[in-house]
């Protein structure tokens, strides 16, 4: 079946008109007014990757301190800040901003067949607010007053009595910034997926990636509030003397853990589901066929979304829970394996009954299969309460979550990068360097983290800055540290490959992988109007199932930034909506909100006084700018009709 390409219909000048309408301002101040999803998506990806590198540096420092017993390279104060900022950076400043926000914001509108993401200014605001939160955490570290109570900052240790100063405040407010950012993007993505899909893209024909982003966005909506509540409670205990967690006056330390993990567990699925989406997308392309088991996979994604909220207490098995509670959460934690297993079997079947072309993105997906699976299986061990009583809070758990997070998110991320970077930059990445990157990283990762299973079994707890020679943990720790060298080398190769390819790589063209989803129907890199002709869709893989004369959408205005809004279930056209153009208000509002949030760490009146500039900037944002006449009253809806 031939792959359909966009064909120029006799609309001379359309490209120029669209380019002018959708143009984003240039120059220094122009950068702060950009509201196009491709720019914001790239910013999320680049910024989060930088924080990934920074978090990696911290990890290398930790591994250096642990390379031998009683090493005196790093003392306990700095070490505690290192593992806290490492964990917080990787989870809050890298994994979610990259997997959900970066990939989501860039790919989703393209895959829907529309010209921009819904609520473009909210999208831009979400980026700026994320950056401020990220800087807040790291400024604390550089000022030697960094967060140091662990990435989940249990009370009472993180509370006012045991962590004086601003350390936990930086952490708690970083949470607020990054969660507001994620929630903003969740609203944008949910609306885009539910209402901006191309005509013909019914729910049943939606690419798996869109299903996954939809489920992830809903998870964000229900999970993030929990961490906002608990981090605000911590902040209030520390700044205005509330007593939420003080047992002597009725507070409760386990309340913190429940609220935190009610967020914390869905959080890891918020990171993992985007990865499975990349896997489903890439496997289909490189097995040259539709994914096997679309319905079971979509069901599994939705099921994981629900079940993700039912397992949080498995982080608390060692607290002395009632037995019935422990049993329920063990059962739920084992049950949540099933949807992921279903996806694994469907991916295997796709390859088994397809034609495997093992290009670079697919190599990383195989890496994911082999690495994540180890993490998933050690998770089965952790789900078992008696076993968890032994290995909880040891290096066994550290091994487990690095296998599921690196195997389960980082490997698919690199696969996704090799897959979509040609679309973003217009150039293919170097194949040989990509393979070197893979093998260096694969070897280094397993060397470092497989050995940690044994350290945990032999009694080494987490978060220890040193250990004595008599514990006999030295050899394994040395091995684990050596792995860092390989991983670092691999990543450096990747960075070199990226810059070299961007400058001199082979031109990619619109669809170098012969893929089926709509983002591959645009030039590489895509213009700001995304599609010259808005597409319609005939099947689950839009380009593979496009008719030779697949209709295009006409009648959407080209002189204003207008998109077509379709209905949720059938994607039937409903109305046309004008999106806002470039605006400085998202940036200014982000500054105002940042001032209020940061001020409130130092004084409770910060919220009150800081609210004033926030209100001003929000008014600027929301005040209507009528540059195109809209009718006073809505017109009667006309049926969209097919014309030849």
């Amino acid at each position: 079946m031939a792959i359909s390409e966009p064909v120029v219909v006799s609309q001379s000048g359309a490209a120029d008109r669209l380019a002018r309408t959708w143009a984003q301002p240039r120059g220094f101040w122009g950068w702060f007014q950009n509201v196009h999803h491709t720019a914001i998506g790239v910013r999320f990806m680049v910024t989060s990757f930088i924080f990934f590198l920074l978090g990696g540096v911290l990890a290398a420092m930790m591994r250096w301190q642990l390379v031998r017993p009683e090493h005196n390279a790093i003392g306990p104060d700095l070490y505690n800040q290192l593992f806290t900022v490492h964990g917080s950076t990787m989870i809050f400043l890298f994994a979610v901003p990259m997997m959900f926000q970066g990939f989501g914001v860039y790919v989703v509108p393209h895959m829907c067949g529309t010209r921009n993401i819904a609520f473009p200014r909210l999208n831009a605001f979400s980026y700026y607010i994320y950056v401020v939160g990220a800087l807040l955490l790291w400024v604390g570290l550089f000022l030697k007053t960094g967060a140091d109570a662990g990435w989940f900052a249990y009370v009472p240790l993180s509370g006012p009595e045991f962590t004086p100063g601003k350390r936990s405040d930086f952490w708690a407010q970083m949470i607020t910034f990054t969660e507001v950012s994620a929630l903003g993007v969740a609203i944008c993505i949910t609306t885009t997926i539910l209402r901006y899909r191309a005509p013909g893209m019914t729910l049943n024909r939606m690419p798996i990636l869109l299903w996954e982003k939809l489920v992830t966005s809903i998870m964000v909506i229900f999970a993030m509030p929990s961490v906002m509540v608990v981090s605000s409670m911590l902040l209030m205990d520390r700044t205005i003397n509330t007593q939420f967690f003080n047992p002597s006056v009725g507070g409760d330390v386990l309340l913190y853990q429940h609220l935190f993990w009610f967020f914390g567990h869905p959080e890891v699925y918020i990171i993992f589901l985007p990865a499975t989406a990349i896997v489903s997308t890439v496997v289909a392309v490189f097995a040259r066929r539709h994914i096997f088991g679309y319905v079971p996979i979509v069901t599994s994604v939705v099921a994981t979304g629900f079940l993700g909220f039912s397992v949080w207490v498995h982080h608390m098995f060692a607290t002395g829970l009632p037995q019935m509670s422990a049993s329920f959460f063990t059962a739920a934690s084992l049950m949540i394996v099933i949807p992921t297993a279903v996806q694994f079997y469907c991916w295997m079947a796709t390859i088994w009954h397809g034609r495997l072309q093992l290009k670079l993105p697919m190599l990383w997906i195989f890496g994911f299969f082999f690495v994540f699976l180890i993490g998933g299986l050690s998770g089965v061990m952790l789900a078992s309460v008696p076993l968890d009583w032994q290995v909880h809070d040891t290096f066994f758990v550290v091994a487990h979550f690095h296998y599921v997070l690196i195997g389960g998110a980082l490997f698919p991320m690199f696969g996704g990068m090799y897959f979509w970077i040609p679309k973003i930059t217009g150039r293919m990445m170097n194949d040989r360097l990509g393979k070197i990157h893979f093998w260096l990283f694969f070897v280094g990762f397993n060397l470092t983290f497989f050995t940690m299973h044994f350290l945990g079994l032999h009694g080494m707890p987490r978060r220890v800055y040193t250990y004595t020679p008599e514990m006999r943990w030295g050899a394994l720790n040395l091995l684990a540290t050596i792995g860092v060298v390989f991983m670092t080398a691999g990543i450096l190769v990747f960075i070199a490959n990226f810059f070299q390819s961007k400058a001199t790589g082979r031109f990619a063209g619109p669809n170098p992988w012969g893929a089926g989803s709509l983002e591959w129907a645009t030039p590489s890199p895509p213009p700001h109007y995304n599609f010259l002709e808005l597409p319609t869709v005939n099947g689950r893989e839009a380009l593979w199932e496009a008719e030779p004369n697949q209709p295009i959408v006409g009648g959407v205005r080209e002189d204003i930034p207008e998109v077509l809004v379709t209905n949720t279930l059938d994607s039937e056209p409903e109305y046309r909506d004008e999106l806002p153009g470039p605006s400085i208000w998202p940036f200014l509002t982000a500054i105002a909100v940042s001032i209020a949030f940061i001020w409130s760490i130092f004084s409770p009146w910060g919220i009150a006084y800081g609210a004033i500039p926030v209100v001003i900037t929000l008014i600027g944002w929301l005040w209507p700018r009528g540059h195109s006449p809209s009718p006073r009253v809505p017109e009667p809806a006309l049926e969209a009709r097919w014309i030849r």
Binding site: A349, G354, H392, D393, V464, G514
Partner: protein, 337 residues
């Protein structure tokens, strides 16, 4: 830092080597043994699963691999998909059954581990502090209550219940060779059972991050024969031996006239503060500073003079003593067996 001697506890008939056993795979009692059994069962199950799935992916890749450079046309394999439906369905069924089996075995093991209770256990209260363990053997009569720190003695073969609490932040009591861990939560007290069947010393360590010296918050459990245990307990009940020699009297005076009394108790003297570990029988312990240093004169001296060098951030302030004062103090403390 440490080159320490292995000190045989001849009185207890136990060869004690520090640190004691500390591996999940070297159980010394029924709780840890049950968990170790479960570990191996689940390990082999997941090992087989891993091998099968990895082979599956490798076979899937190998049988359809093509090295073509350009992207090939899209294909369909409806017959293959029908076969695959059966295979996937079977695989899911096996997965569900396997997970169910894991669930059942976990439940059984959990009940066994929690079920090792008794109506007449040895009761011990463990209260977590930053960064040491307060160990109390409670008794309705106050003068029958043993208070010590960091070194827990239990009789072999008898059920022991630990009542947990914390004086400050969350800690976690974990001796891998004995049982899983139990968090020590401020505001909560829970009952945690254990039993040790082989005499020996077993190492434990705090397993919930608790601040600057979390890495140096160890404890040991000394399991000894019943008679040796009773002997130990009786000795611990006694107040501190009155010093008789000149040097030990001087040592006690040093103790009582310096900052030591702000935090430490030595029963039989006026020192009664409970901020720090009870030192009434410090001479009888194998290690000091929560399993960080051996209980030797040199280590003790280094610890007293500058605890911040060994455990930076801990609550004990430096005590720059004159050499003869220090010598006397150490001699005195070593007599407190």
């Amino acid at each position: 830092m440490i080159g320490f001697s292995r000190v045989p506890l001849l009185a207890a008939g136990v060869f004690a080597s520090y640190p004691g056993d500390h591996s999940i795979l070297h159980p010394a009692g029924p709780q840890a043994s049950n968990i170790e059994w479960l570990y191996w069962v689940i390990f082999w199950i997941v090992f087989v699963v891993y091998v099968v799935v990895v082979l599956g992916f490798m076979r899937a890749g190998a049988r359809t691999y093509t090295s073509a450079d350009e992207m090939l046309p899209i294909m369909k394999d409806e017959a293959g998909d029908r076969r695959a439906s059966w295979a996937v369905g079977s695989a899911i069924t096996i997965t569900v059954l396997t997970l169910f089996a894991v669930l059942v075995m976990s439940e059984i093991t959990g009940k066994k581990v929690e079920g090792e209770t008794s109506k007449n256990p040895v009761t011990i209260q463990v209260i977590g502090h930053q960064w040491w363990w307060e160990v109390i053997y409670p008794d309705p009569q106050a003068d029958q209550t043993v208070t010590t720190a960091n070194e827990i003695h239990v009789p072999v073969g008898k059920r022991v219940v630990i009542l947990t609490n914390s004086a400050d932040v969350i800690h976690s009591f974990w001796a891998p060779s004995i049982n899983g861990k139990r968090d020590l939560l401020p505001g909560y007290s829970s009952a945690f059972w254990l039993q040790i069947d082989q005499p020996g010393v077993y190492h434990g360590q705090c397993a919930e991050f608790c601040g600057l010296q979390h890495a140096h918050m160890g404890f040991s459990i000394v399991a000894e024969r019943e008679d040796a245990f009773s002997q130990w307990k009786a000795q611990q009940l006694k107040p501190a031996q009155d010093p008789t020699e000149l040097v030990t009297v001087h040592g006690r005076d040093v103790f009582l006239s310096h900052a030591c009394v702000m935090c430490h108790t030595i029963r039989g003297t006026d020192a009664g503060s409970r901020l720090g570990p009870d030192l009434t029988h410090i001479g009888s312990r194998q290690m000091i500073a929560a399993e960080t240093l051996p209980n030797t004169p040199g280590a003790l001296a280094g610890w007293i003079v500058d605890p911040q060098r060994i455990k930076p951030g801990n609550r004990m302030s430096p005590n720059p003593l004159q050499p003869d004062d220090l010598q006397a103090l150490i001699t005195y403390l070593q007599t407190l067996k």
